[in-house]
Symmetry: C2
Subunit: 110 residues, 2 copies
Amino acid sequence: MPDPLRDNLFVNLASTVSEELTHVLASSNSVRIERIVSTGHSSPEGFWFDQDEHEWVVVLKGEARLAFENAETIYLKPGDHVNIPAHRKHRVEWTMPELPTVWLAVFYKD
Amino acid sequence: MPDPLRDNLFVNLASTVSEELTHVLASSNSVRIERIVSTGHSSPEGFWFDQDEHEWVVVLKGEARLAFENAETIYLKPGDHVNIPAHRKHRVEWTMPELPTVWLAVFYKD
């Protein structure tokens, strides 16, 4: 039996100004686990994520600010996690520009 | 609308020799996200986890060794993650005794 897939969240962080890096780490019909690396990226002005799935997300390295429609903006440092119900509109307002911000996101259904 | 639940993975790590700490961070019918804190804990000798759900797990702090039936033992340092299919028998062979080992585990269905 082959060894299970093992990988590290904190390698291959290189990203460019033009695009974020997204890797699907595991998935099934009901869940999708992604590592996202942002380096100064943010959501376009006026854009809101409006997702069919719930999203549990944690910042593991770096720093970010998440904005929610009709609510306060929250600042996330490593270890800070937030659960975003489906269709709760949100956007990434800011990520630190100098160093990669590593997110782990779990998208899931009811 | 209330702010979304925000919490930090790296606070309240105190555990005792007698038991691991487990917190469910988010869950639905199809997924359960847990933070587990081990401080020198391991699975009982001869015990194997044999789970109905798949488990994606990452070590975020500390160090651990996971054993799989009929396969090599793997050593996990922070950031190392592994996807364990349902019913793949495994056990926690060792976690570092001096400091808490923080796991993030996502249990999920097909």
